[in-house]
């Protein structure tokens, strides 16, 4: 009998596991899996993002049961969900605010990876899959924004799909193909709904690959030093599970504060006006989590150039593992890169404000300087600093830094502090 040698004692579990070793897989990856013992709470955001994805999928399926993807009915069907469906208002507000909080979790996750060098060897594919996830999220966020068929929905769809018309020769045919007609209309809404329902499941598949690849190399940690022995690590369960649960609940409290008390804070009032192709809103803005990219788009005084710059700003992340020439992962030991990193974080925020404001006067100048620094960070500073910067001395191992007080590590403050006194 060619059965898998399961180690479980429960006869039912053993029977299944020896035929399809899912229990062994879960035990291996989520119970005994070794995690660096010095990871801080920033490492919880991967799990938080995963839980947000599940929240979005579950509420999304329930909303789809009540929603009507037709230009004449969509707006009223959303309001019907708000008024007449049992807890429909809750489902919709969770879903609408959930997309923003999904992005918050993913942005923190992304910047954590950037700061601690989680994209470096051997985790390049983990990082690349992460960028694929980010791209899918952006596509899906945009598609979902269109579905309520309010003014912002309609005009965001018009503006974003029209970007492709900047491409030479193929531009206009592509736009017509995306619309399924000669303007944003019912066929557009129908396909956007179909795609909005499809993409999350593709996203979930890529998340699985992201986690599978992560579990080959194992998690990075604030020191950026790999696990050298059992003294450096703790088993995933219960140590990391309990930490992730606590972090998720704190995240959930913030999320619920928005859902229950300011559910429309991050939305635009104009999206409660039914779509009207004949009336252009005074100010078309995307959701806030796209604003830095929107600022880059508008910073370039040429439609095609702006579009290319915006897409490059995301695509550049794919080659990040090869743009960083440093042998050291964590910014904790790279004083110059650390300054450049924080400038980048501020830069992205400034770009966000530029995206939210009309592109004239000082905002244009700020957006251009911001765009320059954004690309400069990846294309100039990263390759250059990796070569010329002399990293600070690093502890011999993770356990060393914790048990002996870590000398140089502690000098650099909270970022390097192990979360627990051990």
């Amino acid at each position: 009998m060619a059965l898998y040698p399961s180690k479980f004692n429960n006869p039912v579990v053993k029977w299944i596991d020896s035929r399809l070793p899912l229990f062994t897989l879960m035990h291996h990856e989520y119970v005994e899996f070794q995690m660096p013992r010095n990871i801080n709470y920033l490492w919880a955001f991967g799990a938080i993002a995963m839980l947000m994805l599940m929240t979005m999928i579950i509420t999304g399926i329930m909303l789809a049961m009540q929603y009507t993807a037709n230009t004449g009915l969509a707006f009223a069907s959303v309001e019907r969900i708000m008024r007449d469906v049992n807890f429909g208002w809750l489902l919709r507000y969770i879903h609408a605010n959930g997309s923003a909080f999904f992005f918050i979790a993913v942005y923190i996750h992304l910047f954590r990876g950037l700061y601690y060098g989680s994209y470096q060897a051997p985790r390049e594919i983990v990082w690349i899959l992460g960028v694929v996830i980010y791209l899918l999220m952006m596509a899906n966020g945009f598609l979902g924004y269109v579905l309520p068929w309010g003014q912002m929905s309609f005009w965001a769809a018009t503006v974003i799909t029209n970007l492709f018309s900047a491409l030479p020769v193929v531009g206009d045919p592509i736009v017509t193909w995306l619309w399924g007609g000669f303007s944003v209309d019912n066929p557009t809404l129908n396909r956007f709904f179909a795609l909005h329902y499809l993409l999350p499941f593709i996203l979930l598949g890529v998340v699985m690959l992201h986690i599978a690849a992560l579990h080959i190399a194992g998690s990075n940690n604030p020191l950026g030093i790999e696990i050298k022995g059992p003294q450096d690590s703790v088993p995933f369960h219960p140590y990391v599970t309990i930490k992730d649960i606590f972090a998720f609940i704190v995240f959930l409290i913030l999320f619920c504060a928005f859902v229950f008390f300011e559910p429309n804070y991050m939305a635009h009032p104009d999206n409660y006006i039914p779509a009207n192709p004949l009336v252009t809103p005074a100010h078309i803005v995307p959701e806030w989590y796209f604003l830095p990219l929107y600022a880059i788009l508008r910073a370039i005084p040429d439609k095609l150039g702006g579009m290319l710059a915006m897409f490059s700003a995301v695509l550049i992340l794919f080659v990040l593992p090869w743009l960083d020439t440093s042998k050291v992962k964590s910014c904790v030991f790279k004083p110059l890169t650390r300054v450049a990193f924080w400038l980048l974080a501020i830069d992205v925020l400034v770009l966000g404000f530029c995206g939210a404001n009309p592109p004239d006067g000082a905002w244009v100048v700020a957006a251009r300087v911001g765009t320059l620094y954004y690309f400069g960070y990846f294309l100039v500073l990263m390759p250059l600093l990796g070569k010329i910067e002399r990293p600070l001395p690093r502890p011999a191992s993770i356990a060393d830094s914790i048990l002996k007080g870590g000398g140089s590590v502690h000098a650099h403050g909270a970022a390097a502090q192990p979360m627990e006194k051990a």
């Binding site: 013992r37 009223a76 309001e79 019907r80 708000m82 008024r83 208002w89 809750l90 507000y93 018009t158 503006v159 029209n162 970007l163 018309s165 900047a166 206009d172 736009v175 017509t176 000669f182 303007s183 703790v234 219960p238 140590y239 309990i242 930490k243 649960i245 606590f246 609940i249 704190v250 959930l252 409290i253 619920c256 504060a257 859902v259 229950f260 008390f261 559910p263 429309n264 009032p269 104009d270 409660y272 006006i273 252009t280 005074a282 100010h283 078309i284 788009l297 508008r298 005084p301 439609k303 702006g306 009309p358 592109p359 004239d360 244009v364 979360m419 627990e420 051990a422």
Partner: protein, 256 residues
């Protein structure tokens, strides 16, 4: 042609030439801030005030404005009894049908009917109102920056004389808070435009605040329920977070 136009429009928008309207939209004077019982996490709709607001809506606004997404039964949420709601609904004539003879017919409204619209369609509404159809008010408080404060300000924001230099086109009215200041709606709320049964003095501002409260309720009839549930959820999560933090401390304390 239409396609070409939208491409140019989008290009202009993307490049930021289309945002001239923003300055106009923001140029509006700061909105006077009223106190609203429904404001904040612990605020709730004042049902008496919402009922007065319904009276203002019914007697004044409803002559031009629809409430197309709201059924009469929603009035139960501001304290009307089932019988009162039936009576209010029955006062309206609803077009139903076709009947077995294939004819449309009129019947008294039922609580499950949506508020009967004052005009047959949007074109008719526009034709009767100088070319601009009065907006449906079903979600108006959520659809305007400034929410209730904007509604109250707009309704009372008609100075006796437009300021010197203000250009007000024929058939439009000067409003201090309307984007662009030229609004199709004349001043509708005056002192004693309605007579309140509960003895509240019907100043124009009081009427505006009352109707804004009613519109706040119809824009989101579940808002009180939402805040009530929210307080319980957050309280539960705080306790849960505390417990989990204790567990986490306990577990990690065992590590050396």
């Amino acid at each position: 042609m239409r396609h070409m136009k939208s491409v140019i429009l989008a290009a202009a928008l993307v490049l930021g030439f289309g945002t001239a309207g923003v300055a106009q939209a923001n140029e509006g004077v700061e909105l006077p801030q009223q106190s609203w019982p429904q404001a904040g996490p612990f605020g709730r709709i004042d049902q008496k005030q919402a009922q007065r607001g319904f009276q203002v809506f019914k007697e004044i606004c409803a002559n031009c404005h629809a409430l197309g997404l709201v059924p009469y039964r929603a009035l139960k949420g501001i304290g009307f009894t089932a019988d009162q709601v039936k009576e209010i609904a029955a006062a309206a004539q609803v077009t139903d049908g076709p009947n077995d003879q294939g004819e449309m017919f009129q019947r008294p409204g039922k609580p499950s009917d949506r508020f009967v619209k004052p005009f047959a369609n949007e074109k008719a509404a526009a034709a009767a109102n100088g070319g601009a159809a009065p907006p449906d008010l079903s979600v108006i408080v959520k659809a305007r920056l400034g929410a209730e404060n904007y509604i109250a300000a707009l309704l009372t924001g008609y100075p006796d004389e437009p300021p010197a230099g203000a250009q007000v086109p024929e058939g439009k009215y000067y409003n201090k808070y309307f984007p662009g200041h030229a609004i199709g709606m004349p001043k509708m709320l005056f002192d004693d435009s309605v007579t309140y049964a509960d003895g509240t003095k019907a100043t124009a501002l009081q009427e505006a605040k009352d109707v804004a409260t009613f519109l706040s309720y119809v824009s989101e009839p579940t808002q009180d329920e939402r805040k009530g549930l929210g307080a319980k959820v957050i309280l539960f999560l705080l306790v849960f977070a505390g417990l989990m933090y204790g567990c986490k401390r306990q577990l990690w304390a065992g590590l050396h």
